[in-house]
């Protein structure tokens, strides 16, 4: 796997931000040349006579989906490392309707407002200023909107996962959907031009057939390649995973708000002592219904006293569930207890001990685990090959 490169993490933040400007420039350039700096071109979409918005956008989506599918079929792209916007059905239906209404009133969507402003359009500047005011309106209305905003969450769900089909196959379906939509709107454009005694938008069959032909060809190649090299089976997203105490402790330290951590022992034991950051189960909820109501934007980790069977509530939940192997007992033994160091540790054992000591200190508040007698790491037993050259 080569892609994604993720320079914001890998090459440092500044490089990432410079790349942000560069990708933004390319995006803005294409949008302007596509005609999206002019409100009349954009609003025309909603009167049927010129469907430029649909054509550009749908071709863009199809091209991207096809290329991502093809690269993943070729083993060059890890699809599951791409950020997929989360699904929140209700808010996205209402937000979409409102945004469409604002779009036809203003004549721009937020991004095209920027491009219009860049070409000297004052209505574009005012539109983007309006978008900023809209954020403030949203914030002011937050107490009334919060409940709805957090409803209908399904986590990151891709259509290919939902349909149980490979990504390139769904990308090919997107191309087919796009091409049939284009055929329909071109027919509509011709019919309306005749009725309104105007002219239909310019047709360039060579450019259209050439562009869509290339995209279609890549889509078929992606499906064919994926067919001959079946990808590794995707893990069933609803089957709960297992997490060991040490990994869990590391994740709590690294990203405390990336998890829902729920203690499923009886409320009394939970109140007495629990893993930091864990919430206790309500006493009257044997079914675990409250788990199903958590927003699925984080990973849910549940634990009992020892190993645990996942309650039905967690099965109904839409996000990823992990069960702490060995439960609270394992956490006490592996994280809260001082780690032991063998008398003659290898370098790997010493590193492991250092990590465990740091975690034990973090969770127990002790400044240091009991010190070992001065140790020198033993050389690892000789293996078949020796590494040549330096390196870390």
């Amino acid at each position: 796997m080569i892609f994604p490169l993720q320079p914001l993490g890998d090459f440092g933040r500044e490089t990432g931000l410079v790349l942000g400007v560069l990708f933004g420039m390319a995006f803005g350039f294409v949008l302007e040349r596509a005609g999206f700096g002019r409100a009349s071109n954009l609003a025309a979409q909603f009167y049927g006579g010129d469907n430029r918005v649909l054509k550009v956008m749908f071709t863009g989506i199809a091209t991207t989906a096809v290329l991502l599918g093809l690269l993943s079929s070729l083993g060059m792209l890890a699809l599951d490392q791409l950020t997929v916007p989360e699904t929140w059905i209700g808010p996205q239906i209402v937000g979409g309707l409102l945004l469409g209404a604002g779009f036809v009133v203003a004549g721009y969507c937020p991004g095209t407002g920027v491009v219009a402003a860049a070409s000297g359009s004052i209505d574009g500047v005012v539109t983007y200023f309006g978008v900023m005011l809209g954020t403030l309106v949203f914030g002011a209305a937050w107490p009334y909107l919060e409940g709805f905003y957090g409803s209908g969450g399904r986590g990151s769900v891709r259509l290919d996962q939902m349909l149980g089909l490979p990504f390139p196959v769904v990308a090919l379906l997107v191309v087919a959907l796009a091409v049939s939509a284009f055929a329909s709107v071109e027919r509509l454009e011709g019919w309306l031009a005749k009725r309104r005694a105007g002219t239909a938008p310019d047709r360039a069959p060579v450019l259209r057939n050439g562009s869509l032909g290339i995209v279609g060809l890549m889509a078929v190649t992606g499906v064919g390649t994926g067919w001959t090299q079946p990808a590794a089976a995707q893990p069933e997203s609803h089957a709960p995973g297992a997490i060991d105490a040490f990994t869990l402790a590391t994740r709590i330290v690294d990203d405390p708000t990336g998890l829902w951590l729920v203690d499923l022992r009886d409320p009394g034991s939970c109140e007495a002592a629990r893993i930091p950051g864990a919430t206790c189960r309500p006493a009257d909820d044997a079914d675990g219904q409250f788990l199903a109501d958590l927003p699925p934007s984080r990973t849910l980790v549940v634990y009992g006293g020892a190993d645990l069977v996942v309650p039905p509530g967690a099965e109904r939940w839409h996000g990823r569930v992990e069960v702490l192997t060995g439960g609270y007992g394992a956490f006490q033994h592996d994280v809260l207890a001082a780690p032991a160091l063998p008398a003659e540790p290898t370098l790997a054992q010493l590193h492991d001990w250092q990590r465990r000591s740091a975690l034990q200190g973090y969770f127990t508040g002790s400044t240091a685990a009991p010190p070992p007698v001065a140790v020198t790491p033993r050389k690892a037993p000789a293996s078949g090959s020796t590494r040549k050259g330096g390196g870390c």
């Binding site: 994604p4 914001l8 790349l19 990708f23 933004g24 390319a26 995006f27 294409v30 302007e32 040349r33 005609g35 409100a39 025309a44 009167y47 054509k55 550009v56 071709t59 991207t64 989906a65 991502l68 791409l82 950020t83 997929v84 916007p85 699904t87 209402v94 309707l97 945004l99 469409g100 209404a101 604002g102 779009f103 036809v104 009133v105 721009y108 991004g111 920027v114 402003a117 860049a118 070409s119 000297g120 359009s121 209505d123 309006g130 978008v131 900023m132 005011l133 809209g134 954020t135 403030l136 309106v137 949203f138 914030g139 937050w142 905003y149 769900v157 891709r158 360039a204 450019l207 562009s211």
Partner: protein, 179 residues
């Protein structure tokens, strides 16, 4: 006399064929995904600029707000964000494209049917609607429909159909503007 000194204005370059523009858009978005691991956005910068400006004016109110509170506070720099730089780039790229195509001039567009003041009022009103909508939907036509649609996000496709539905529903009410 070089062509640049010519007093006769050149007609602006034609817009690209929409299908060619769509493929170009797809190539830009694919490149962004391959390098960054995420896609493009349009309204995230407006969100951050607005909250940042409000925070300068009324810090206590903004920090106490349930939605804004997570964006501001000790140790946060609200404008230090990829989407802000990306939108800055959009402005630059759009300027280069408009200038090189001969379309760069200060103007208020589409005022034929309704006049300048009404046109600007519509722009502002539509913008405010979209600002609320983009927060609710967690993205706009760029970040949700285009970007999320390309990685086959269920919610992005739902959002995209809702955008078209909303546009077609309201279009008859503002028809006069687009004559």
């Amino acid at each position: 006399m070089s062509p640049l000194d010519s007093k006769v204005p050149r007609p602006p370059a034609a817009f690209w064929n929409p299908y060619v523009a769509g493929v170009a858009l797809g190539l830009v978005l694919t490149a962004t995904f391959l390098v960054m691991g995420f896609g493009l956005g349009g309204s995230g910068a407006a969100n951050r600029i607005a909250i940042g400006a409000a925070h300068v004016v009324a810090p206590a109110t903004v920090e106490a707000n349930g939605y804004f509170g997570s964006f501001v506070g000790p140790g946060t720099r609200i404008l230090d964000d990829w989407l802000v730089f990306e939108v800055l780039g959009m402005f630059l790229g759009g300027s280069i494209a408009a200038y090189s195509a001969g379309r760069m001039h200060l103007h208020v567009g589409s005022t034929q049917g309704i006049g300048t003041a009404t046109r600007l009022a519509y722009s502002l009103g539509g913008g405010i609607l979209m600002g609320v909508a983009a927060r609710l939907a967690r993205g706009c036509t760029s970040g949700q429909a285009l970007t999320g649609g390309s990685v086959l996000s269920l919610g992005s496709w739902v959002f995209m159909f809702a955008v078209f539905a909303g546009g077609y529903l309201v279009a008859p009410l503002v028809r006069r503007q687009w004559r």
